[in-house]
Structure formats: C-alpha cells, structure tokens
Symmetry: C2
C-alpha cells in the first residue's frame, strides 16, 4: 500500500480526481445523474447561442465522431437541440435547451464550489499553480 501510494501513476491520480468530481456533481445535481463526464465536458463548451460540432470537438479534445454520439445522447436527454446555423445553411448549431442551461449553470456552480474548497485547503497560490500546471499538461499531451 505505502509503496503504491508513493509512485501512484498519473493516470491513476487523474482517474481518482475524476471519480471524486463525479461524486461531487452527483451529490448536488441529482438531475444530472444520466450524464457522464464526457457529456458534462461537451455541455460545458456549448455557447448560450449555440456551437458547431467541429468547435466542440476542438475545445473538448474529443474526436468529431465521439462528439456526434455525445450530442445525440444530450439531445435525446433534452439538454440540447440542433438548429440551422444562420451564418451557414449547410451547417447545424447545437443549442442548449432550458434544461441544458440549468444543467450548465448548476455544474458550473458546483465545480466553482469544489475549487473554492481546494484553494482553501491547498492555499490559493498552490491551487493556482496546480491548475496552471494541469492546463500545461493537457496542452503538452494534446500536442504530442
């Protein structure tokens, strides 16, 4: 056990954080139970006036095909709808429904609360440093 804790690899640490965040979100958002972490990530990037699938793919770091499936599921669950893009009649926009807006706002509030608690526990500068490094890690992994 002690040995494992010391050299716990990055994938395991990240997976533990994901599980804990999921539980925190499930606690405050029982309505969101049907949503997995990837749904929430995609939903977090949907702009209030709609987003294109290609932009959601780039911003969330998922393949466009995966985004299509996740958007289908979000649509079936009533969180988004597809609407014609007023600037390009061949394209569709993914637009949050009323339920989607509520979910986006509720998730954002719950995550902000978790982040306030983490900043209080680690200290504000250490938490800011951690998040900055985490963003760099995500960028480096995306580029490589």
């Amino acid at each position: 056990m002690a040995r494992r804790e010391l050299d716990l690899d990055l994938a395991v640490v990240i997976s533990r954080i994901t599980s804990a965040l999921q539980r925190a979100l499930a606690d405050v958002l029982p309505e969101g139970d049907q949503l997995g972490p990837r749904h929430r990530t995609v939903l977090a990037f949907v702009q209030p006036d709609g987003s294109r699938a290609v932009d959601l793919a780039r911003e969330s770091g998922q393949h466009k095909q995966v985004i299509g499936t996740l958007v289908d599921e979000l649509e079936a669950l009533g969180y988004v709808r597809r609407a014609p893009d007023p600037t390009d009649r061949r394209a569709k926009l993914i637009v949050p429904t009323e339920r989607g807006h509520r979910q986006i706002a509720g998730t954002a509030a719950a995550i902000a609360d978790v982040e306030r608690r983490l900043a209080a526990a680690l200290g504000e500068p250490a938490y800011r440093q951690f998040k900055q490094s985490a963003r760099r890690v995500a960028e480096i992994l995306r580029e490589s």
Copy 2:
C-alpha cells in the same frame, strides 16, 4: 475562446487530460482498446498474486458495486479471473491472467513514458510539484 481558456474549470481540464491519456494509451496499446479508463484504473491496482474487491474499491475510489461490474467485464475480456482466497474461504480474490499481466505492464510502461515527456517539458521539479498537488487534490476531494 480566449475567455474560456482563461477560466477553464477544473472538471474540463481534468477531462482533457483524461482524453489525452486515453489516446496515448490507445496509440501504444491497440490490444487495450476495449478497456475504458475505469477498467485500466482498477487493473492498475490488482496485485500480481490477487486482490480483494473491497481493497480495489478503496484504492481506486470507486463504489464496491461499480468495482463488481468492472471486474465482471475484465473477467469476460480475459484480463482477470476470480479465485478462492486461501486466507478466507468465504472470500474471492481477483487475480490477473497472463493477458492481464501483459496489459498492466504495457500500461505502466506507456504512462511512465508520458510522465517522462511531461517532466522534460515542464521541468522535473515543476512536474513533481504538480503530481504531489494532484494527489492532495484527490485526497481532499475524497474526504469531503
């Protein structure tokens, strides 16, 4: 876009890291394609001579019921088998198969490679600090 990048919330950053790690593992381990991140996490904690489900649940931070399902799936895919626990005849041990051992070793090598690249890009002290903070974040979230 720029605005979003600046205040990107913790859940989104962690989800991007997870996606990138998954891609890195899929690249080097085509055999592992059927395994999701939660399977890999559970498998990472299975000891060479077997582990009990209750220990896998504690170490991976998943509910015991979830562990049961993941172990069923890992067993169906041939990565683990259930065997009687020699120290407690009412209990079962989850033991890696030959395929499971290969997968555990391959995943560990791939993650170690990713971590070496991250340490080179961020600098060794900054990467060590990041991992230490990530472990603290996982602990704090688990306790709260």
